[in-house]
């Protein structure tokens, strides 16, 4: 018999429920990452005198945050009850923690972006310009949390592919966020001002690629959920696009605007596909009972070994 995982099950039925979530959730993961990274780029650009990068960062942060919020609400079973999220603050629920991160993060993003579009001849425009820097800074404090918490959001579940990935997933996600927001900067900002966006994108892209590989190397059986089917295909393309984008950003994007736009777009696409790949791997890992039964059986066997139990547990009919 080949080393196919052997296990018993109830008519091959799944043990777990399939996630209730659909495409808006990975889309939100992507959008939230773009927003968080763009906020950091905007604040840095503001402090170092790069107006074009600042403007792109502020507007990009608001648009992606807006899109992300729409995705989040769209995936609720009762969207009109969205505000019920604000009834409680629950440290054991990453979704609750994330909601409060967004509450702290959003207003600053809104003010900073509004300052970019309202004309200075209006009194409100002048007021916002004056407020924009502190507002941006207030969001920048929360932005890393916004980029990273989504990994815990997925991992704090019984979904094997998400839970097992918890040590590396935060690095995959923050890397993906940096790559995407850097990519957005490269697409929108003229090359002389886009240096920090390129650097951020390269650092993020490399972090994403490396941590995804580290994750693969560590995972047991559930690696299969990441490597096969839809998740496997998405992941393959995510890796190619991100790697291509990183190379372009590092080598050609400084001199050629065309290369910058292409690499930036590749990084954005790679980041998005990475989120969808992780999401799909999770869904796949709930559909097949082996991802639940086999590792849990191994855990039981290990703890029996440690306890020095000999012999097999009583087993009756097959």
């Amino acid at each position: 018999m080949p080393e196919e995982a052997r296990f018993r099950s109830y008519y091959g039925q799944p043990v777990l429920q399939e996630p209730a979530w659909e495409w808006p959730v990975p889309a939100y993961l992507f959008a939230g990452g773009v927003s968080a990274g763009s906020t950091l780029l905007a604040v840095g650009a503001d402090l170092t005198g790069r107006p074009a990068l600042r403007r792109a960062g502020r507007l990009g942060a608001l648009v992606s945050l807006g899109a992300g919020t729409v995705f989040l609400v769209a995936d609720l079973g009762r969207p009109e009850r969205f505000l019920h999220m604000l009834r409680v603050a629950k440290p054991t629920s990453p979704m609750s923690v994330g909601t409060w991160f967004l509450v702290a993060y959003g207003p600053g993003v809104g003010v900073a972006a509004a300052a970019e579009v309202l004309p200075a001849r209006w009194r409100l425009g002048r007021l916002l310009r004056w407020l924009a820097r502190p507002a941006g800074l207030s969001s920048a404090v929360v932005a890393p949390g916004v980029a990273a918490y989504t990994a815990v959001l997925l991992s704090q579940t019984a979904v094997p592919a998400w839970h097992e990935a918890h040590p590396e997933l935060p690095f995959v996600f923050t890397g993906s966020a940096a790559a995407a927001s850097g990519g957005l900067g490269m697409v929108c900002v003229p090359t002389p001002e886009a240096g920090p966006a390129r650097a951020f994108a390269v650092l993020g892209g490399v972090a994403e690629l490396v941590s995804a590989r580290v994750l693969d190397a560590r995972l047991g059986l559930v690696r299969e959920a990441y490597g096969t089917g839809r998740a496997g295909r998405l992941r393959h393309w995510a890796e190619l696009l991100t790697a291509g984008g990183v190379l372009g950003a590092a080598l050609g994007a400084r001199r050629s605007r065309a290369v910058a736009v292409l690499s930036g777009a590749a990084l954005l696409a790679g980041s998005a596909l990475q989120r969808f790949a992780v999401f799909e791997a999770g869904v796949a890992s709930t559909r097949d009972p082996k991802y639940v039964v086999v590792p849990q059986r191994e855990r039981i066997a290990r703890s029996r070994d440690e306890a020095g139990v000999v012999g097999q547990p009583p087993r009756q009919a097959e």
């Binding site: 018993r8 109830y10 008519y11 043990v15 777990l16 429920q17 209730a20 979530w21 968080a36 990274g37 950091l40 840095g44 402090l47 995936d75 609720l76 079973g77 009762r78 009850r81 019920h84 999220m85 009834r87 409680v88 629950k90 054991t92 629920s93 990453p94 979704m95 932005a143 890393p144 949390g145 980029a147 990273a148 990994a151 815990v152 991992s155 704090q156 579940t157 019984a158 979904v159 998400w162 040590p167 590396e168 935060p170 923050t174 940096a178 920090p196 650097a199 951020f200 650092l203 972090a207 999770g282 709930t286 009972p289 039964v293 849990q296 059986r297 039981i300 087993r315 009756q316 009919a317």
Partner: protein
């Protein structure tokens, strides 16, 4: 928050949830060795709780046409048909002579009525961001339907695959251990309807004793496959309020063999996320420091 409240044994579940004065923890002991697969529990539950009975399917899984616990199945009777590996010695006894396990044929049928486990550390409850899921004074886990916004997090938080979002309704649904009946001093509808007392309702402490005695009795009679599932406060969810006596390994009934509440790893997960967040901010700083 202490680590204790996320994982491990917990004596006073309702007390931990903030009830000063509360009734004892109530639960189910489902003794599958006497289940006859009549599905009275499924029907009684639907009747009492108004659970829709609209998905009629023939699943081809023995007599099981319910399939799995879910939004519209708060009790689920599993049917397992098993062929013994060794057929035993040929016998010259007349049928009906014996009644112990030695008289069995090579075929057996396992039936088991599954239900929400009302975990000591409930993954569903831990992740619920609205507070819709709550711990009752009886130590059970219930969704408040007027609060739930259908975020779906609990669906992935449950290590047993119990709770589900109901299609067309959008809210999460599962067994309430008949919270309304308990408050009126009644036992849950399924336990009341069960004709063989396979489903026993009562104080969890008392039920655990009863279950241990029953397993011992079965072992004595040669039923070596009998085992308890969920009755151990040292297991991955701190023991369950609704636990089972099974005749074979849990996965044979579609149950996870060693479930662990995902919250156990929460401190470790946030630590890694914190590191990743710091690295993210540092990368931005580096990007500007070395900016060209």
């Amino acid at each position: 928050m202490t680590e204790h409240s996320l994982y491990g044994p917990l004596d006073d579940v309702a007390g931990e949830a903030g009830y000063d004065d509360h009734p004892p923890r109530m639960g189910f002991f489902t003794d599958t060795s006497v289940c006859i697969g009549c599905k009275a529990c499924e029907v009684a539950c639907k009747e009492w709780n108004g659970v829709p009975a609209d998905d009629f399917d023939l699943l081809g899984m023995s007599f099981d046409n319910t399939g799995h616990l879910g939004a519209n199945a708060w009790r689920h009777v599993a049917f397992v048909e098993q062929r013994a590996q060794d057929l035993g010695m040929p016998s010259f006894d007349r049928p009906g002579d014996g009644s112990g396990p030695e008289s069995r044929t090579d075929f057996r049928w396992l039936m088991s009525s599954d239900v929400c486990k009302h975990c000591t550390h409930a993954g569903c409850l831990d992740v619920c961001p609205t507070g819709a899921l709550f711990r009752t004074e009886f130590g059970t886990v219930v969704v408040q339907q007027d609060i739930c916004n259908g975020c779906g997090y609990c669906v992935s938080g449950c290590p047993y695959g119990v709770i589900e979002r109901r299609e067309g309704d959008g809210r999460a649904q599962k067994c309430t251990l008949c919270y309304d009946r308990l408050r009126a001093g009644e036992e849950p509808a399924c336990a009341k309807a069960c004709p063989t007392d396979s489903i026993q309702f009562g104080e969890v402490d008392e039920l655990r004793d009863r279950a241990a005695a029953r397993v011992a009795a079965l072992h004595e009679r040669g039923e070596v496959g009998a085992r308890l599932y969920g009755a151990d406060p040292d297991d991955g969810v701190g023991g369950t309020g609704a636990f089972f006596l099974l005749m074979d390994e849990p996965e044979v009934y579609g149950l996870p063999p060693d479930p662990v509440v995902p919250t156990r790893d929460l401190p470790a997960m946030w630590k890694r996320a914190g590191l990743a967040a710091v690295a993210f901010a540092a990368a931005a700083a580096v990007a500007f420091a070395g900016g060209r």
